[in-house]
């Protein structure tokens, strides 16, 4: 009976895993098929050819290289800036009796919970007004502004629970506020920063809506919106589109594999609190 249940469990789960991984594997395999093969046998058939030229096409002709650079130019500063600013706010709000601190914190969190749709038109207009429209600066700014509330809230919860004695000891040793922040609090907050860093990297890297709201020129598009453009450019070249898809997915998969534990604990941070 027990053996039967174990067998059923594994059979079911292997089928389910296949359902989850199958489409991904299919796309990876398809990215190495030749155009003629797909034209002759369809995207649903098994591969009868092998080529890596699709990656060259997506990389150079499709502009994925340019798009990946844009993505990095947006994602890395956005993550660093939003976590830095959020850590500052969280530190001040959690460790000092700042008047109205709870209201400020919740207001900041509320900003992050807003549906972005209400912000799209004003943000697009505001970036036109400031001359930032269609530049990566606009995208960085809005990513930082919109993400801040949530990061501050999570870091606040984390810093609040650190023992007060550490801060007192540092104060007695003559450390100023800035030193307590950089030398004591930030190192202690590292697990939460790593978790939020891994999460926000994928969020910002994967974003479509903000990018197509504040950017217009193809050359400025990060890889996620560029992938939609690639689809228009290589309409029936499914192998090239598949290669482009793989390229666009690699960075977030890499970050996930490298920071796996942080990533999952980051997702859970909000839930168990």
């Amino acid at each position: 009976m027990n053996k039967l249940r174990t067998g059923a469990f594994h059979t079911g789960m292997i089928l389910l895993s296949l359902l989850w991984l199958g489409p991904v594997i299919w796309v990876v395999v398809m990215s190495t098929r030749s155009f003629d093969d797909i034209a002759a046998h369809g995207v649903g058939s098994l591969p009868r050819s092998f080529t890596l030229d699709t990656y060259r096409q997506a990389w150079t002709d499709g502009g994925e290289l340019r798009a990946l650079i844009n993505s990095m130019l947006v994602t890395v500063p956005s993550v660093a800036l939003s976590l830095g600013l959020a850590a500052m706010a969280a530190f001040a709000l959690s460790r000092f009796r700042i008047p109205g601190r709870r209201t400020i914190l919740l207001l900041m969190l509320a900003g992050n919970l807003l549906p972005p749709q209400i912000l799209l038109i004003p943000v697009a207009k505001f970036s036109e007004l400031t001359g930032l429209y269609d530049t990566l600066w606009a995208l960085i700014a809005v990513q930082v502004g919109f993400g801040l509330g949530f990061y501050t809230f999570v870091l606040h919860g984390f810093m609040r629970d650190l023992p007060g004695e550490i801060q007192e000891a540092a104060t007695i040793d003559g450390a100023g506020t800035a030193q307590i922040f950089t030398r004591v609090m930030l190192p202690l907050t590292r697990p939460a920063l790593a978790a939020l860093g891994a999460l926000s990297f994928t969020w910002i890297f994967n974003d479509l809506l903000w990018a197509i709201t504040v950017l217009r020129t193809d050359d400025n598009m990060p890889v996620t919106p560029a992938l939609l453009g690639l689809q228009g450019q290589f309409v029936s070249s499914w192998n090239v589109i598949a290669a482009g898809t793989v390229i666009a997915a690699v960075p977030t998969v890499a970050v996930f594999l490298r920071f796996q534990r942080h990533f999952v604990s980051g997702l859970a941070l909000g839930a168990v609190k």
Binding site: R97, Q117, G149, E168, F181, N206, A271
Partner: protein
């Protein structure tokens, strides 16, 4: 409830320093981030409400028209279709991802051989962008793609249709990939919650002769109350925000059959250049999300107290 109980005893022992005056540095620590968020979130949000009361093409200055946009909305069949689709989306995408995620978390909560792999498999799509997800599934739905090949293999070729181009199936063909990506995410949230449950509770219930269904009903689910609240808020907010997957697969078409409020708002604003009307649609999305947002904030407020 459990969360509040566990945090209260900590507060009296924690010594809060009463600093007589705030250093300028601390003021800057709060004000700079707050100012950034004000410029890019709070102020635009206020403007958004104002724009919803105007007629505006983006070039000439907006003209105030009162509630005309909302009146127009009431008679707009596309809007009503998008609203209905958003509700369907909320129920199917939200409901099934919670059920699926919770179910998978229950099945995979116990550490045993292979569980790590299964969890990883279900979680993999979470790291992909929705655009990547959309392209992966496009291959699936393509004429002569995987879906058609599979149906043919089991002799159901009469079911074959242009999945994304058929108004009858487009919406559901978009929900499926969204679920595929969301279930692993919800599963992780519930796994974290299940892990936090004291095993002694289950042990005690077992001693009292509770079967596994009773333990699920009277131990696990009540113990997960905190997680449930978070998951529900996340799901509702995510559902109302859903845009990327629809935009990448169908752009709301064909004939608005997979149109959600979010995609209708976007195309009205940036393709139709009817910024006032689009803002009014955005306000409707906000109102739909409001109850959940407030619930989330009240919870957060209690925790901070």
């Amino acid at each position: 409830m459990t969360a509040t109980i566990s945090t209260t005893p900590v507060t009296p022992t924690r010594r809060r320093r009463r600093s007589a005056r705030l250093s300028p540095l601390l003021v800057a620590f709060v004000l700079v981030p707050f100012a950034v968020e004000s410029v890019w979130v709070f102020w635009p949000a206020i403007q958004g409400f104002w724009f919803s009361l105007t007629r505006w093409d983006g070039m000439s200055p907006p003209t105030f028209v009162g509630v005309d946009n909302y009146v127009e909305m009431a008679g707009d069949a596309t809007f009503r279709g998008a609203l209905l689709n958003t509700v369907i989306w909320l129920v199917l995408f939200g409901g099934l991802s919670v059920l699926g995620g919770f179910g998978m978390a229950l099945i995979l909560q116990r550490e045993r051989r292979g569980v790590g792999f299964y969890r990883a498999a279900l979680f993999t799509p979470v790291v992909f962008s929705l655009v990547v997800t959309a392209l992966v599934w496009r291959v699936f739905y393509q004429p002569d793609g995987i879906a058609d090949t599979l149906l043919r293999a089991i002799g159901l070729e009469q079911l074959i249709r242009p999945w994304l181009a058929d108004p009858q199936t487009a919406l559901y063909a978009v929900i499926l990939p969204a679920l595929w990506r969301q279930i692993g995410y919800v599963m992780v949230l519930f796994l974290a919650g299940l892990k936090a449950i004291d095993p002694a509770l289950h042990e005690a219930a077992r001693m009292d002769g509770a079967n596994s269904w009773q333990r699920l009903r009277h131990v696990t689910i009540p113990q997960l109350r905190g997680v449930n609240a978070v998951v529900l808020s996340v799901i509702v907010i995510d559902s109302l925000r859903s845009f990327d997957i629809v935009w990448s697969l169908t752009k709301g078409g064909p004939y608005h059959s997979s149109e959600l409020l979010s995609t209708y708002m976007y195309s009205t604003a940036f393709q139709g250049l009817r910024l006032g009307y689009a803002s009014a649609i955005a306000v409707v999305i906000f109102v739909l999300a409001l109850a959940v947002i407030l619930g989330y904030l009240v919870r957060a407020f209690r925790e901070e107290a």
